[in-house]
């Protein structure tokens, strides 16, 4: 019987200890959990748990500090990269990351985001883009697609009156202070592994003081999009990826 295989020497995958055992509050199928785990695995594999300080945003991942077993600070809405700047400037030898959603990073925090990247702060920004304000109940986000429905664009985003979705990652890639900018996803095993490699690269660049690294993770919001998790992943592939294509946007020369 296959149960005989359950022995320590046969272990190939288990939850990393850099994630706590707390049950995450995220909705079923939400990409946050996977994105958390990929980053936690990177911290684990690099052996930097004791040198890492994270910054949680306001949004669905506001409680990320319960799940990452590293020292963390909770920032005001949109201010995570300013808070991270404060940390990194007094602790240049530590690894500092922010974990932010699209509303936090690309709407209320646009100035802080762009200026931190433009200064080339040696931090990692993990940017979860699901095109919606999840925590507050599914309102239109800066990254909501044209025509996409939300509770504040119930007839779909009308770009003529509501403005256009903001491709902030592409903007950041143009800044001299950004070093490595990439867009990933975590909805399939292959994509999640690629995202993890990107996060690992970013942390390694941070060690070398190369500048700001931003890893965008295009993710789903089953509750906000009003779909099942599996449907939401399919919808994401069909609708989000054409607008937010996956892949590296800025790679070291």
């Amino acid at each position: 019987m296959s149960e005989n295989l359950i022995k320590p020497e046969n272990l190939v995958y288990k939850k990393t200890n850099v994630l706590t055992d707390k049950v995450m509050h995220y909705c079923p199928g939400c990409g946050h959990g996977t994105a958390h785990r990929m980053l936690a695995e990177v911290i684990d594999e690099l052996g930097i748990q004791e040198q890492t300080i994270g910054v949680a945003p306001v949004g669905c991942s506001v409680l990320a500090y319960y799940y990452f077993d590293v020292d963390m600070q909770e920032a005001a809405h949109g201010r995570a990269t300013a808070v991270a700047t404060g940390i990194k400037r007094v602790f240049p030898e530590k690894y500092v990351f922010t974990y932010q959603g699209d509303g936090d990073l690309a709407a209320i925090g646009t100035a802080e985001t762009i200026h931190a990247c433009n200064r080339g702060e040696n931090i990692l920004i993990v940017f979860i883009n699901n095109g919606i304000y999840g925590m507050t109940g599914g309102q239109m986000a800066p990254t909501t697609l044209p025509g996409m429905k939300s509770s504040t664009s119930p007839r779909g985003r009308d770009v003529a009156t509501m403005g256009n979705p903001l491709k902030i990652t592409e903007i950041i890639a143009t800044l001299p202070g950004s070093y490595y900018v990439t867009r990933q996803s975590v909805h399939t095993p292959g994509n999640a592994r690629k995202a993890k490699r990107a996060l690992k690269k970013a942390m390694e660049y941070q060690k070398e003081n190369k500048g700001t690294c931003l890893v965008e993770i295009v993710s789903n919001c089953p509750s906000g999009w009003k779909m099942t998790p599996v449907e939401s992943n399919k919808w994401m592939e069909e609708n989000m990826f054409p607008f937010y294509p996956l892949g590296d946007i800025k790679v070291p020369q």
Binding site: Q51, L63, Y65, F68, T85, I87
Partner: protein, 355 residues
Amino acid sequence: MKELRLMKGNEALAEAAIRAGTDAYFGYPITPQSEIIEYLMHENPYERTGMVVLQAESEVAAINMVYGAAACGKRTMTSSSSPGISLKQEGLSYIAGAELPCIVVNIVRGGPGLGTIQPSQSDYFQAVKGGGHGDYKLIVLAPATVQETVDFVKLGYELAFKYRNTVMILSDGIIGQMMEKVELFEQMPRENKDYEWATVGKKPGKDSVIVTSLYLKSEDQEKLNFRLQAKYREIEKAEVRFETIMTEDAEYLFTAFGSCARITRKAMEMARAKGIKVGLVRPISLYPFPVKIFEELAPKVKGILTVEMNAGQMVEDVRLAVNGKTKVEHYGRFGGIIPSPEEILNALEQKIIGG
């Protein structure tokens, strides 16, 4: 070694910041306090002590950088003037909720709105009543001289770390821009302490440190508020600071803080020369407010005139302290107008003695 220098208030404050072992200063230019960051950039304190000085993209960013560095247990400071301090209120509320120590300097200018770059005291309410959302207090120190400005930086860190609270140095364009003789304290070392509440990297075998102002459960939120209120009561007991001048035989009292107290002192001297027995109470800590001295003196005097460069703010705290035991009136000029000693004396005669 102590050192005597002739310095502008803002520059002296910046020098004091370096000497007090500040780890990080985050600022943004605004008149009339830009000399602080200019002096720091010119002095290059990173070379002198390893102190970080960064010009942020906004006052909002600067106060959030303060949050980040303060939560690492570092001596952290920012400075601004009124419109910029308004922008920092969000951060100050979060810093209060997360119980972090820092110094925030407000070189007050006239408002509301963009107002004027001339000196004012119209941010008194904002400073002593909290300023941002939620029940919280800043320890507010109001210097009347360049010397006090310098001394309050050192004292400010002591209080900030003792209570894990923001200390605001509430000054104004007069003190910030004037040159005075000042004795500088000796260079203090930058601390390199690991505080148990600070994010310095998770310690093996210990829980990770979380710095947050979020308590979703009402019971936890109330617990935080009880803790804060207990801290404020302790501060109110232990950290009251004020100065009294010629109050022993006084039949009348002036009260004024900061730069305005200097002018009022002149008015007091003019009154005394005319035979009017008037004294001066100068609150130095605006929060905690020196309630007891007013309780003590109120029954002994015929009236109190508060003199402020605003439309009447501290007068409310004076009235609360006096609690009806004597007449309390306010005299103020605002919008950047500095009252003259003559008009202050005139106000005393009209509003208190004659009124």
